[in-house]
């Protein structure tokens, strides 16, 4: 009986907190739910697998990578948030969403008890970018909305561009053969 009580208290605690990854782009710190990230890789380790692509309509994406038979579009965190361009060293490959994000560094992981709603005063693109805000050790940190990196329209454009890159590569391969 006692053990059951402890277990239920533990599970209540587990439900009431959320694990987030704190990462940096330039001087800004952001948070993302840990379970929204599939893997974190160095840009060097992905460099050979990355395929260059340039699409005027989606300038924040300059590369795509294939992971587990899925195409991930690599979004520049600086370009997405309108920050000064830096030299990113890490890639966050997201889970469930075909997006990878270039970031500068991982600060640490943290358990947060609550995510505050973004105040209504914020009416710009940030409503798509952020799920809310956390207050952690005297800092207010925005919590990323993973699906906010690319819109369905941008995905459609990128998919079309990726197909034409694939077709071009196949043609080049056939010519060389």
């Amino acid at each position: 009986m006692k053990i059951a009580t402890q277990d239920s208290a533990k599970s209540r605690r587990a439900r009431s907190t959320e694990a987030v990854i704190l990462f940096c782009i330039g001087t800004q710190t952001f948070a993302i739910a840990a379970d929204a990230v599939q893997e974190i890789r160095s840009t060097d380790s992905l460099a050979t697998a990355a395929v260059e692509m340039e699409l005027a309509e989606v300038p924040k994406v300059r590369h795509l990578v294939e992971r587990s038979h899925r195409t991930y579009y690599v979004v520049s965190g600086c370009a997405h948030f309108g920050l000064r361009v830096t030299r990113p060293t890490l890639v966050l490959i997201l889970r469930q969403i075909r997006t990878a994000v270039l970031v500068d560094s991982i600060e640490r992981m943290a358990d947060v008890a609550s995510v505050h709603a973004l105040p209504q005063a914020f009416q710009g693109e940030e409503r798509h970018w952020y799920r809310g805000l956390i207050y952690l050790e005297d800092r207010v940190i925005p919590v990323i909305r993973p699906e906010g990196f690319l819109t369905p329209e941008e995905f459609a454009r990128l998919d079309r561009a990726a197909k034409s890159i694939e077709a071009r590569d196949e043609l080049q391969g056939a010519v060389q053969a």
Binding site: F30, P119, F122, Q123, E126, V140
Partner: protein, 159 residues
């Protein structure tokens, strides 16, 4: 502060923005907050300088200096926190902060109609100590800032 009641004697909080004094209805003011840390993160909302944390709440800070004075002010270190309403029928409200220089006072006066050709964010005027003090309509003021290109240019580069 929509639909202000003219010609009624009410309490007002007088605040300094730039070199001018303005007034807000006392009932809309929550508190005068001391100089606390202004937190910034990327956003594209015009007029918002960042957020502060007060009593466990995250409060957006509107830098209204560009609208009221035509320029940003660096001397404002305190924050006057007031309720701002949202929606066509003012259905919701949230605490909103305006940077001020800390010299705030309470006054009782009768609001007169706004001066002719006054911008819509002035709900009226108060005659206090031989001075005509404009009464701010926070909702209109923020809307004006959002539509004002000078304020917009300041907001684009944030943080």
């Amino acid at each position: 502060m929509s639909g202000p009641a003219h010609h009624t004697r009410k309490s007002w909080v007088l605040l300094h923005v730039g070199n001018r004094r303005f007034a807000l209805p006392a009932e809309s003011v929550i508190e005068l907050a001391p100089p606390v840390r202004l937190h910034n993160f990327p956003h594209t909302s015009k007029l918002i300088a960042g957020v502060i944390v007060r009593r466990g709440r995250i409060v957006p800070v509107y830098d209204v200096s560009p609208v009221l004075c035509g320029r940003e002010s660096s001397v404002h270190r305190f924050y006057l926190i007031a309720e701002r309403t949202f929606g066509p029928g003012n259905e919701t409200s949230e605490a909103s902060a305006i940077p001020v220089n800390g010299e705030c006072e309470l006054a009782t006066s009768e609001m007169q109609p706004p001066r002719e050709n006054a911008p819509p964010y002035f709900a009226g005027t108060l005659a206090i100590e031989n001075e005509n003090i404009d009464v701010l309509d926070l909702q209109e003021l923020v809307s004006a800032g959002i539509n004002d290109s000078a304020a917009a240019n300041l907001a684009e580069a944030r943080p």
